[in-house]
Each structure stands twice: as structure tokens, then as C-alpha cells.
Subunit: 137 residues, 2 copies
């Protein structure tokens, strides 16, 4: 628990929230600025700033619950699709520094944007440079 | 393995790709339409259409590798941030029906959009209705 963390306060109940799910390891609550109806935030109870700080031994339980909740939200809201999104650091849009995954229900006619990828394929120089850099060669 | 699946063909090597990582359970390769430099797709070798079909017992290994790769990409590309995105069904932008997570490196000045959430908070009626619906009450 971090004293100045909004999500730690929500988990503890010091700040009210609409909780969708709660156990000793994972809490899920409705985003107060919903991108679509039913937009839900899933957080580990333990405070970790980003996904990179999240311990490997917690993966199985956290993602099993994330999947279960996403499926429940999808079915009960009769969503046509669902995005799962997780942002790390400010440059990626992270606002609260307590690791969280977004569950975002989608409908065919919701008129919300997708990630817009370019229409032209990347070329062989790009692939060669990226592989070299990512592999640290 | 599904015969008509693009990612199964990439995994098998029937279609060329720039592979960042490969073991018997998980393969990662560069997206050919990169949203940003280093945009990488991480797939389980086993064919599952969406996250909802992905078995719970595979979570630990898959997400441990996803985190490790995301960290490697972030550090070697000197990214300022990183989005992790997963789309289920066409309404959410899924194009290839073999479950995959996107690793998207971000930079402070990359001028790429974020998910734009509304500025006004949702009200108590919204929270009450969503909790009722999601919990199936």
C-alpha cells in the first residue's frame, strides 16, 4: 500500500468506488471516466507502479481473474467485442501509478476509435534495424 | 494449428516474419504495420481465437514472457512508455483470429493518440445500472 496512491485508497475503501469484483489479491471497479459503457479497471491489491514491477508469480491468478471478469462484462453487457489495454509511464498515457488493466467493452456501432496502424507495410531496413536493436546486437 | 490462420503460418515459418522471440509455447514478431517503432505481436503457439479461449493454465508462462519482452523492447529502444493492447472480436478491432497481445513502445513526442476518455465523470445512475448488469442482478 502506497500512501499517496489513488487506487490503494480505492482498494482500502477510503475513496468510494463501484466495485465489480474484490478478493484478497485483485480488485475491479468501474472507471469514473468510461470510454464505453462498463469500462472497468482491474488492479492487484499489492501496489506495483507498472507492469514491469508486477511479480511473475502473481501472473496466473491476476490474468485468470482478468479473463473471467472480461468475459462476465462482455456477456452481461451483450458487448460485440472487448479491448484489454494497459499503459506504462506517462508517455503511454498512464495517469495512476498503480499497475492496472482496462477492460473496455465494444459495440459494432459505438463509433469509438481503434488504434490506427499505417496502411503501408514496413520495409526490410526497418525489420533489420528493429531486430538488431531489440535483440541488443 | 488452424489451416487458414495467418499467425499459425507465421509461427510455422510458412510465411516469413521478423521474429523477436521464439520458444515452444510463445512466439513474438514485429507487426508489419507498426503503430510505432518496434511494435511487436506476442502469440501463443497454440491456436486460440480470442483471450476468452486462452486456457488459465497457460497464463503464467505467457504473461511472464510478455512482460520480459515488453521490458526488453522498452529498454533497448529507449522508449519513454509502452502500451499493451489486446483486441477481441471485430467490434474491438481484431483482424487475425489467433489471440495476440500488442506491445507498443511510446515516446513523449511521438504524437500518437491515446484512448481519449471523457472529461466529465459518470454519475450515480450509470454506476448503479452497470453494477446491476455486470453482476447479472
Amino acid at each position: 500500500m502506497a500512501n499517496d496512491c489513488l487506487f490503494c485508497k480505492i482498494i482500502k475503501g477510503d475513496i468510494p468506488s463501484a466495485k465489480v469484483y474484490e478478493d484478497k489479491d485483485v480488485v475491479a471497479f468501474l472507471d469514473i471516466f468510461p470510454f464505453t459503457k462498463g469500462h472497468t479497471i482491474v488492479v492487484p491489491v499489492e501496489h506495483h507502479e507498472t507492469f514491469f514491477d508486477f511479480p511473475d508469480e502473481k501472473m496466473a491468478n491476476y490474468f485468470t481473474i482478468l479473463k473471467k471478469l472480461a468475459d462476465q462484462i462482455r456477456l452481461n453487457l451483450k458487448a460485440d467485442g472487448l479491448n484489454i489495454v494497459q499503459n506504462n509511464f506517462r508517455a503511454a498515457g498512464q495517469v495512476v501509478f498503480h499497475m492496472h488493466y482496462h477492460i473496455i467493452p465494444r459495440w459494432t456501432d459505438d463509433n469509438k476509435p481503434f488504434i490506427k496502424q499505417p496502411k503501408d507495410q514496413a520495409g526490410p531496413e526497418y525489420f533489420a534495424e528493429m531486430l538488431r536493436t531489440i535483440k541488443g546486437l
